[in-house]
């Protein structure tokens, strides 16, 4: 620490022990007594004026405690890792179908997965269902009412969800920390240390517990999250409309470096402090407030390529074609969902040579897959890309035609370990089945490509004959320009 001022009037202490980071931490990285009161008032006023009208917020005010708890539980679990806009429609569908624990406990896992289908992180739906069963069968239909008990007793409920339910549904005085709150507090209290470290997360939880409003804990917590989601955003925070910008250490540091230095003793980060910006990655002037929070670099998303086999059997003359799907194992990625048979591909495409090699390996996979049917044709169709949060996944689509099966007993599919079963479904059934967004994309691309080679191209030819022009496809700008926002 180079320019430590020995006398700081705004604090009681006269000198600061450099060797003792605890002392420094207290004054750099917390709010003072008066400031906390100020924070609560400003934030709650702002929330009252600006809160978004969301279905679960209304249900959280329901007179029946169990309905309140249930509504908040469902919304919080859906909102994990998922944006509000996406959750809205799923939430109303869910609540309409299963308005309380009892109703949900009578559903089947298959139904739950179907309604959840498209929302991602499918184990959440299963755990929610398990929680409902537990509440109904083991707790006489009454859910635990404190954050501590919620976390202990309900599957799928971690510290965040427990605190959210406790504070929002049962008015318990607990703070909470999610990604948004983490960002708000790290800026508010200039915490520049790596927020993926447990020690830092613990400090932020502690701060959040200190800050939470004793009378309206639920609203306070939602206000913090809403502020993080709408104002204190990751890339371009709207400090000019932020209700608590005057309290914000990061904002002070960005806008009035002198004032920051005065109340924080020094503008430099303190080398020994566990919460300041790391010395080797100092404050960057042009980044302003977004210097906080700091996160250790994410490991790049894994790149993976899979072969997807769309195996088609012609059903009875009048019916539409049916496709083979199998059900994934009980655990792991996309647990219990149905998908077209797919295998990791060992080829990364760079040229046509690899394409033919992948076709060969697709054929190899196929031979072992079906018994009792002959493969008539296997043909490459298209590539489909899907971004999972941790995997950049490309699917190479292969269309496979198989012969009819002569003996019904022979009609079998050899499933990989732990896979739960297979079915033949037509297009309409696929649309309703519990399958992932990625597989929906795959099937959509399949239908488009399949159509292109049959009916619609005929239509198009007929149309171009009429007008005497060659039909052309209107492109969109996204095919040429990339979105500069990554969010």
């Amino acid at each position: 620490m180079k320019r430590l001022r020995s006398k700081v009037k705004s604090f009681k202490i006269e000198t600061v022990e450099i060797e003792n980071p605890e002392v420094l931490r207290n004054h750099f990285h917390t709010l003072l007594e008066g400031e906390i009161g100020n924070l609560r008032e400003k934030l709650l006023n702002w929330y009252d004026a600006n809160k978004r009208d969301l279905q679960w917020r209304n249900l959280a005010k329901h007179v029946d405690q169990n309905i309140r708890g249930y509504s908040v539980l469902v919304s919080e679990i859906m909102l994990q890792q998922t944006q509000v806009a996406t959750v809205k429609s799923y939430y109303s569908k869910w609540i309409e179908k299963w308005p309380d624990f009892t109703a949900l406990s009578k559903a089947t896992l298959e139904e739950v997965n179907t309604v959840w289908s498209g929302l991602g992180y499918y184990s959440r739906g299963r755990r929610l269902y398990e929680a409902a069963c537990k509440v109904v069968h083991e707790m006489d239909g009454t859910m635990p009412q404190t954050a501590e008990q919620l976390q202990k007793q309900l599957p799928g409920v971690g510290p965040y969800t427990a605190a959210a339910i406790g504070s929002i549904a049962f008015n318990e005085r607990v703070g909470l920390v999610d990604g948004n709150v983490m960002r708000v507090i790290s800026r508010l209290c200039s915490i520049g240390a790596d927020t993926s470290k447990k020690s830092v997360v613990d400090v932020i939880w502690k701060l959040s517990n200190e800050m939470v409003d004793p009378d309206r804990p639920g609203d306070f917590n939602q206000a913090m999250m809403e502020l993080g989601a709408t104002v204190c955003t990751p890339k371009s925070p709207l400090c000019q409309v932020c209700p608590i910008s005057l309290l914000c250490r990061a904002n002070k540091r960005a806008k009035q470096p002198e004032a920051f230095a005065a109340c924080h003793m020094d503008i430099e980060d303190v080398p020994d402090c566990l919460l300041c910006l790391p010395i080797d990655q100092p404050w960057v002037v042009k980044d302003g407030v977004t210097n906080y929070p700091r996160k250790a670099k994410k490991t790049a998303a894994k790149i993976a390529r899979n072969i997807v086999l769309i195996i088609e059997r012609t059903a009875n003359e009048s019916d539409s074609n049916e496709y083979l799907l199998w059900q994934r194992p009980v655990n792991g990625l996309l647990a219990n969902l149905w998908e077209f048979p797919s295998f990791p591909s060992h080829h990364q495409w760079s040229d046509d040579l690899d394409k033919s090699r992948e076709l060969t390996s697709a054929m190899d996979q196929l031979k072992g897959l079906l018994t009792g049917r002959d493969i008539e044709r296997c043909q490459y169709m298209a590539d489909v890309f899907h971004q999972f949060s941790h995997i950049s996944q490309t699917y190479g689509l292969y269309r496979v035609a198989v012969s009819a099966c002569e003996n019904a007993e022979d009609d079998a599919v050899s499933l990989p370990d732990h896979y739960q079963g297979f079915r033949w479904l037509n297009a309409r059934q696929i649309a309703e089945a519990a399958i992932s967004t990625a597989m929906k994309k795959v099937f959509r691309s399949f239908t488009q490509n399949a159509d292109g080679s049959s009916s619609s191209s005929l239509k198009r030819k007929a149309k171009s004959k009429e007008t005497g022009t060659v039909s052309k496809k209107q492109m969109t700008l996204q095919s040429y320009f990339k979105s500069s926002q990554t969010e």
């Binding site: 007008t467 969109t476 700008l477």
Partner: protein, 261 residues
């Protein structure tokens, strides 16, 4: 505090005409360098990019960067209340949820102000790469408007081909075919009436007439317009706004449908 004053208020009215055909709403991003707006139409086929530099205003002040989401229909209604000779001032507080338009008559004997609610817009911003275009064609803006209007009677789409000899606009449809050829003009006495073509390689692209017609709503902003094309990239149609900036339109081409082939 944000404040921008424009003596020539009619300019803003013209800018509005250039936007409102394609966009229902847009975010006006204000910085101390000036005002910028970038937005795609609903179909994501075309994009408008407006740039008004701070120096071009008679008075310009922007203390903090500001993004004002405006409903362009409402804004257009308000600007209709200004007469062509009025001085227009746009004002907003740093954290306001409204923007104020002040219209003063040149003699200062009539002052009106209109306050408009801002909207929260979550718009996608596209990064447009710097491109060296294979052809640039400068022509009188009224001529371009005329060509688009005439050819859209023939078909939904128009082919623009640029060669050494000149530029050809053509459209084909039920009633037949229309072709308009423009040669580089020899007369140089009036720069804005000239047709100037710079070409590295010949380019021929197809575009939807509907969007081109919308672009020509900017004709009153500038005497000339510049078209830039390269194979297989969007067309750029640029109208310079004298002394203050430009409005650029980007339009994705129509391409051969491979599936049909």
């Amino acid at each position: 505090m944000f404040e921008a004053r424009l003596l020539q208020g009619s300019l803003l009215k013209k800018v509005m005409d250039a936007l409102k055909d394609l966009l229902n709403e847009a975010a006006w991003d204000c910085t101390d360098a000036g005002i910028q707006l970038q937005a795609m139409d609903n179909s994501h086929v075309s994009l408008v990019s407006l740039n008004l530099r701070a120096e071009g205003f008679d008075k310009y002040r922007c203390d903090r960067n500001l993004s004002m989401g405006m409903n362009l229909g409402s804004m257009s209604k308000i600007l209709k209340c200004a007469s062509d000779k009025d001085i227009i001032t746009i004002k907003a507080q740093d954290n306001a949820d409204t923007v104020t338009f002040v219209f003063e008559s040149p003699e200062q004997d009539k002052v009106s102000d209109y306050e408009m609610k801002l909207m929260n817009l979550d718009q996608e911003h596209l990064g447009i790469p710097e491109t060296d275009y294979a052809c640039t064609i400068k022509l009188p803006s009224s001529e371009f408007a005329r060509i688009c209007r005439d050819l859209s009677q023939f078909g939904e789409s128009m082919v623009i081909s640029c060669t050494k000899e000149g530029v050809k606009f053509s459209a084909t449809g039920d009633i037949g075919t229309g072709n308009i050829k423009l040669a580089q003009s020899a007369k140089v006495d009036k720069e804005e009436e000239a047709v100037v073509i710079e070409m590295q390689e010949p380019v021929s692209l197809t575009f939807a007439c509907r969007y081109l017609n919308s672009f020509t709503k900017a004709t009153s902003l500038s005497k000339s317009v510049q078209l830039s094309m390269s194979p297989e990239v969007p067309l750029v149609v640029e109208y310079k706004i004298e002394d203050i900036g430009h409005v650029r339109y980007y339009l994705a081409p129509k391409i051969e449908d491979e599936e049909a082939a």
